[in-house]
Amino acid sequence: MTQMNAFEAIGHALAEEMARDPRVLLFGEGVATKQKQLLEAFGPARVRNTPLAEGIIAGTAAGAAASGLRPVVDLLFSPFLCFAMDEIVNSAGKLRYISGGQFEFPMVVMALTGGGWTVGAQHNHNLEAWFVHAPGLKVVMPSTPSDFKGLLKAAIRDDNPVLFFTDIGLTFAPGEVEEGDEIVPLGQAAVRREGTDVTLISYAKTVHTCLQAAESLAEQGVSAEVLDLRTLKPLDEATILASVRRTGRLVVVHEASRLCGVGAEIAALVSEKAFDALKAPVVRLTGPDAPVPSSYPLEQAFIPQADAIAAAALRLMQTPEPVPA
């Protein structure tokens, strides 16, 4: 076990995977400048700066992935993905299917998003739901340094395009990380805290907000279970449904805007597959239907807060339970 933050965990994952597999390479705007140690370790052919052009960065990754390499590209901030949607969605996500299975696209697209740096709506836009909606892609968004490392290693080894989102609010938060080759398989949620009365489901930064809420709920005699999705696609339906079947109550929390977000998918999943177990309405606490403001107090207010989560859970405890006939 060593202490490191998310950035360091990402660096370790990249270094280990590049050392393990010569087909892995990293490129993006300034990565060779910023990841000096990787450049020194693996040389300019495998750690490359690019021109300022997200479309061709992602397209080159897709072409290379289909031709035997395993590229990792850093597109910096998630709104910049808007310049690479064709390459990610129409090419990497679809050409395997369109070609009748002739190609594979083992590639990872990294981007930062979320509040914390007051960078505003053109650097901070939680777009993960777009890639969950689009076929052929996988989506990862970790909440702890050890998951940043273990999930990035798994993403690099996956044979599909994986979107890897780093929550800006978590970048410098330290945490314990296993030494060596610890993989966190894609598609497995983590139960961060066990509970019996209500399930709080989230991912990335707001997992920690849910844990705070669970603390204060405990003080009020409510036992909250906290689930960390970790992978948004494929979703760990089994773990989600098992928890809600136990507790009968669900609050879904994320910073991304509400409409058609990941929270909507989870609420819909549960209201279809665990309906009989539900004792109360499924509640979502999310960012508003608005771009993210830069001003620090507003940027923070955009993010669901622990007290609001606890209050929502308490309200669910008060709803009269329907009794099955």
């Binding site: 087909r23 080159t60 064709d86 390459e87 052929g136």
Partner: protein
């Protein structure tokens, strides 16, 4: 069928162009006969496709687009599996999942075909990067149109390929049209080849309706890309003789333009030349016609006799 590149003599070039024409005519015939999936034919551009592919080696890779029949057939694709794909049959190159617009045939080195105009440009540098990085021989040929050259990804692709020294032979088929828009309406320049200079890349425009000239220019360009490992832009100056897609809609075409280009038809030009040189006579030509017609008739029969994909195929091939 064998790739044309294994024997690019004038008669072989002529026969291959005739085969492409026969293939396209078959599709036109299906449309004249009734309901059929829309297709973009390459009638008039046979030399631009056949001439370039004739300059390639088996280890080379080809990326193409929605107007790909000439590229595929020149590379030796089975017209039966192509037509089956157009008709959405399970025996098509992509199991019927692609349809006509994005036929890839990895076994022939025709990879990542995209109908997103510019898709081929976005993917080509990565294919070349993989070759370079993995130490594989061969170059990457990227076929795109004058319309694709208007997409921003053209700029990004050529710049990256040049900065990274990638072995990409960019081939722009300038056929004077971008779907329903005349090229003149979409750019002030007549030619696209000079745009390569912005990227420190060499380029050349060749008469795209003279298959021997195209072969010569493509061979020289390919040799340079092989030798330098650097990209090159070859523009084939040609003409789209039909409307953007079948069923044919001449309403927006320009009669004078069609008339002016008619005598430059690539098949007509080569036959005239070979006849003059005494290399073919009418009998030989009829024999050729009959041979390619037979191949395409058999292909159509195969396609029409092929089954549609099973419903179990609906959501397969999505994830690896």
């Amino acid at each position: 069928m064998t790739p044309i590149s294994q024997d690019p003599n004038p008669l072989a070039l002529l026969e291959r162009m005739m085969l492409v024409r026969a293939y396209e005519r078959k599709l036109i015939g299906f449309h004249e006969a009734g309901q059929f999936p829309n297709v973009c034919t390459s009638v008039g551009q046979e030399a631009a496709g056949v001439g370039v592919v004739a300059a390639l080696r088996p280890e080379d890779r080809i990326l193409t687009n929605h107007r790909s029949a000439g590229h595929l057939l020149a590379r030796g694709a089975d017209p039966g599996r192509m037509l089956a794909e157009v008709m959405g049959r399970a025996t098509g190159y992509c199991k019927g999942k692609s349809g006509t617009l994005h036929i890839s045939a990895k076994e022939l080195g025709v990879v990542l075909t995209s109908t997103i105009v510019g898709g081929e440009l976005s993917l080509a540098p990565g294919v070349a990067l993989a070759k370079a990085q993995l130490g594989e021989p061969g170059i990457v040929v990227c076929f795109f149109g004058d319309g694709a050259a208007c997409e921003g990804i053209f700029h990004e692709s050529l710049n990256l390929a040049s900065v990274w020294n990638l072995p990409v032979l960019y081939v722009c088929e300038n056929n004077q049209w971008q779907a329903y828009v005349r090229r003149k309406e979409a750019m002030l320049a007549e030619r696209i080849a000079p745009w390569a200079a912005s990227y420190g890349m060499e380029s050349r425009t060749v008469d795209g309706n003279d298959v021997e000239a195209v072969l010569e220019a493509a061979a020289a360009a390919a040799a340079q890309v092989r030798e330098t490992g650097r990209p090159y832009l070859l523009e084939t100056w040609t003409y789209r003789q039909r409307s953007h897609m079948e069923p044919h809609d001449p309403s927006y075409l320009v009669p004078e333009e069609l008339a002016a280009w008619a005598p430059k038809d690539p098949i007509l030009r080569l036959t005239t030349k070979l006849k003059a040189a005494g290399l073919v006579d009418d009998a030989a030509l009829e024999a050729l016609e009959a041979r390619v017609a037979g191949v395409i008739d058999d292909a159509a029969a195969f396609a029409q006799a092929s089954p549609f994909p099973d419903f179990s195929e609906l959501a397969t091939d999505v994830y690896a």
